[in-house]
Symmetry: C2
Subunit: 622 residues, 2 copies
């Protein structure tokens, strides 16, 4: 070949990479490495190009490179990044090359693989590289590296080409910050090593020697605990402290509390020990503060702290556990009854009437209050069961019948209000949709740009009145009230406004309609149970009217579903296509629709499911 | 104007209709009527053109027409159809004209309105028209018409232009079939009227006279009952029969049973009467046959038939009612206990463990069985409560702990199987989607028509194995088994097949994924309760592993949601738009997408909601 002058030194990167890939495929690591070093190409490529081939041929790699410095260079340049996807994407990317994600981090995989090969080949020769491989891991293994340096010192290697402890430590200090290394040397609990590092550092011996001397006077475990605590390794500190005997338990308890190491501490003691109990109590107090009283109760109960457990369970109305502990203690009958009444009161506040009734019946032995709770909670069948179980038929006349009629009138007026609201929203939706359709047509109609919209809106608005009708009916004593208030809260949470003329009024109306349908649909079981109770006490008239009203309302909703949620609602309003549409007009109508339906509103565009399989009607009523 | 020959008699319909509308708007009914009669235009238009105007001007209409025959003609031509929308659509349709749907049927509205006006103006003159208006109603009022004829006979009108009974009857016979009229005359219970009609008919007196004579000998109510029964008017028959005294009660009971008039019959007797009870028992038997045993029980209980009521309640496992009746009777303790055991067994079969436990505890007084039922139903807290309430801590060691560990391993393996299935479906979905996208691109790519699809599919298929993995795990004793079998049944109900390569495999996969997510998400409460119980008995290890597994699986699903249900899934796959698209290509891609997503599959395209607000994790576990 003839000399070709300056051009020789200019390298087209694609050509170079192609050549590198060829070399790497041919396992010519040396050539590749030299070239990459010269042209400053990231050395990660050696691994990234084909991870499995590299890992299978590490020995060959080491033998070809054959330079401690070069191997260290390769190790220090390792990064998690896959250079074949970021810096040097291959034009002919084979699918198999993305093997980087095969479990574990790349840097750690390469470090570990190289080290294990080097340790097999010649640990003395590769000493510094082995140290590098420890230090470069994503979680640097400084202790192990230090340990190896320490070994070199204790057993100096005999080989001619071997590194001595001094050199190795110097090299480490070159890789790692000296203070960090000192701390980690402390962590090995090996004072020789500590001194070795300390001497190499610029630290003042007056600073570290007193500390080291003090440590040396301590009992082994307490010494290690002190070091761990100094290094903020609290878990290890806890572990060592736990071996220091009972006289240090208070210190341990404080450590646990300070560092919130409760579950770690519990693992260190047998569950029947005094310490376990003390730790559990501390943990329990902590959990109660964290609003985790039930879990506190469980921990306290299982270590025998029944009184504290009871307190914890009561505080979070974990009534079953509370009563179980109370009978486990066992509480004297009067106190048990008081406890049960206390729990029942909380449960009633939370509208958990059946559970309250159980407390009152079984523990407070007050069947009258229990029945009253059930009646209050519209649990008619259960109330009736207790009435006959305790032979208290008098309650039927004094309470049950009037409660049934109250519930009937509450349900009736609630249904009425929901019906009115449903019809109002439905009608308004039709108006809004018509207005939107008109507005859209005008957008595409090039002639008509008369801004009559504002007027149209205000005209349509005048049909309707102000506030929610529903709230007017929400003062009933049955379950309805909690339901409708939940409904209101939910409605407030929604971001679109029902206010007339607001930009997403249609979405807001759809959401409101879904809510009404869902609430009314959910009443099937409640109505069914009320109907049965009414029939049992000969209130056939009210029962029939309720059945008719409810059935009519469900029918009204069922019929309205296809009208409100029409077929093409979800695909956006009908795309404007037809004989006069152009590619542009169609696209315009699309771009217009897209932002109108963000993901969070998708559910408003899906018709709610009505649970028509649930049979609630009584065939004996007309 | 000059004569214009034959053309005079040819009428362009549009012109005629325009003229008619003008006349009707000007209240010139006479002109309109004459013209319509001549040109055979449907007379309904007179009303349909503007219903409210017509109804407001009936008197003017009658006075202008002023012919009994013409008014009858108008009445007999009335139809429900709105001719302005069907036969004679107006070119300039004003929105208000669709007033036809303003409650009630059109024919009835017009008949009633005309009649009331005619009766005010001159009932004698309009006699025949009034009869027509009765007969033409959608439910012909033949009795009223006949009654009017009868009145004419009893009090012959004095006016010169008045119609006599003979003429009126003849006219009626012209409108209505003679046999029908005879039957209805019977229905008036007026034998004079019957005879009058019978004489006019071609009926053989030998045929009807004996019947009439027999009727005449009867007591009034029984006579009417017999007539009603003859006319198949069973409700009226029942009513009259109920007035005939106790000696006819058996006949009444048979009538009620034959015609299933139970609720009508019950209304005729006071609820404390013997008949009421007998009818209730009959009704109860009927309801039990109709699989309405609970309602039967209610009816039987309220009339005091407690034993039968109990039987009915037991037969449908209405256990609360059954036990209430049983204590109402009251059943002796041993029998009550047996009953409770019987009910508990049924409840256990239905996997209603808590209810079964209540029966066993409170009525069979068998706390051991009750606790066992609760353990079987994974109601750990409730089981524990009873264990301590009845001081049976021995059960903790003998049953509870092993049941907890069993439940733990069942849950664990169930979660594992669901995870495997989820991943399998998810991966397969990705494959199917890729294949579909490729197939679609090929459809629009005019060059590539190489049918490589079949091969691609079969290649992808080979990755996967045969049957559902889930079924393998469904033999556990906890709630899981019933759940997964329900799941399987549900899956079978779906119409799309999960079979590889089936046309809607993607939809089927989405449905399957939704099911898995829903089932796993529903386990939050169950897992929470199990975790607490495990912790209480120091099984921290199993509890931690379960918490980790479940948490991981939920996390896996949560992360997969946006990938599986991506933003543009619901708008169909991304419409093929871009610099190279044309109006036709865009439309083509639309028409292609539409049928691919029928309404019933819409739910598969919506990501299921995960109940992330439900806190199930224990913070004390790692």
């Amino acid at each position: 070949q003839m000399p070709r002058g300056n051009l020789e030194t200019i390298h087209h990167r694609a050509l170079v990479l192609a050549q590198l890939r060829k070399w790497l495929d041919g396992l010519r690591f040396k050539d590749a490495f030299e070239c990459m070093r010269k042209l400053r190409i990231n050395l990660n490529l050696i691994y990234d190009h084909n991870p499995s081939v590299f890992l299978d041929n590490i020995e060959m790699f080491l033998k070809q490179i054959d330079s401690i410095n070069h191997i260290n260079l390769f190790l220090t340049e390792l990064k998690e990044e896959d250079t074949t996807t970021t810096m040097y994407p291959s034009p002919l990317r084979s699918d198999s090359s993305s093997a980087s994600g095969k479990g574990g981090k790349k840097v750690d995989i390469v470090c570990d693989a190289l080290r294990s090969t080097m340790e097999t080949l010649d640990p003395q020769k590769y000493c510094l590289c082995i140290l590098t491989s420890h230090v470069k891991k994503t979680a640097p293994e400084l202790e192990i590296a230090l340990q190896k340096v320490h070994e070199l010192r204790v057993n100096p290697p005999s080989g001619s080409n071997s590194v001595n402890a001094e050199e190795a430590l110097k090299y480490l200090l070159f890789l790692v910050n000296v203070n960090e290394l000192y701390e980690h040397s402390l962590g090995t609990y090996d004072f020789d090593l500590v001194l070795m590092v300390a001497e190499k550092s610029q630290k003042d011996p007056k600073e570290y020697l007193p500390f080291l001397n003090m440590l040396k006077t301590m009992e082994l475990n307490y010494q290690r605990y002190t070091i761990d605590k100094h290094l903020k390794r609290y878990r290890k500190a806890l572990h060592h402290l736990s071996k220091c005997g009972e006289e240090h338990f208070t210190e341990l308890l404080n450590l646990v509390k300070d560092q919130k190491l409760y579950s770690d501490a519990l693992e260190l003691y047998p569950s029947d020990s005094e310490q376990y109990k003390t730790l559990s109590v501390a943990y329990g107090e902590h959990l109660v503060e964290q609003q985790q009283a039930e879990q506190a109760g469980l921990l306290l109960w299982r270590c025998g702290e029944t009184a504290r457990a009871l307190q914890a369970f009561v505080s979070c109305t974990s009534w079953r556990h509370a009563l179980a502990v109370a009978t486990h203690i066992p509480l004297p009958p009067e106190q048990l009854a008081l406890l049960a009444r206390d729990l029942a009161e909380k449960l009633l506040e939370a509208r958990r009437h059946r559970e309250a009734a159980l407390c009152l019946e079984q523990y407070a032995k007050d069947c009258e209050e229990a029945i009253s709770a059930l009646i209050q909670g519209a649990a008619w069948e259960e109330a009736l069961r207790l009435i006959y179980l305790y032979n208290r038929q008098d309650i039927i006349e004094t309470n049950l019948k009037s409660a049934l009629l109250d519930a009937h009138s509450n349900q009736t007026s609630f249904l009425e209000s929901q019906k009115a609201l449903f019809i109002r929203h439905k009608n308004r939706l039709a108006v809004v949709r018509e207005l939107k359709a008109k507005a859209k047509l005008e957008l595409f109609d090039e002639d008509g740009a008369d801004c009559a919209d504002a007027e149209l809106y205000s005209e349509a608005s005048s049909v309707l009145t102000g506030s929610h009708l529903g709230s007017k009916y929400s003062r009933s004593n049955s379950r309805i009230s909690s339901r409708s208030s939940k409904n209101r809260r939910k409605a407030e949470g929604k971001k679109h406004s029902l206010k007339e003329g607001s930009p997403f009024e249609d979405i807001a109306l759809l959401n409101a309609l879904i809510q009404i349908i869902t609430i009314v649909d959910k009443m099937r079981e409640e109505v069914h149970s009320l109907l049965k109770a009414l029939v049992l006490f000969q209130f056939d008239g009210p029962a029939s009217s309720l059945q008719r009203n409810y059935s009519d309302l469900l029918q009204l909703m069922e019929t309205a579903l296809p009208e409100i949620w029409s077929e093409n609602l979800q695909q956006g309003q009908t795309p404007l296509t037809g004989p006069n549409s152009t590619a542009n007009s169609i696209m315009a109508s699309f771009q217009q629709q897209r932002p109108a339906v963000p993901q969070q509103d998708m559910e408003a565009l899906t018709a709610p499911k009505m649970r028509n399989t649930i049979k609630w009607k009584l065939s004996i009523l007309k």
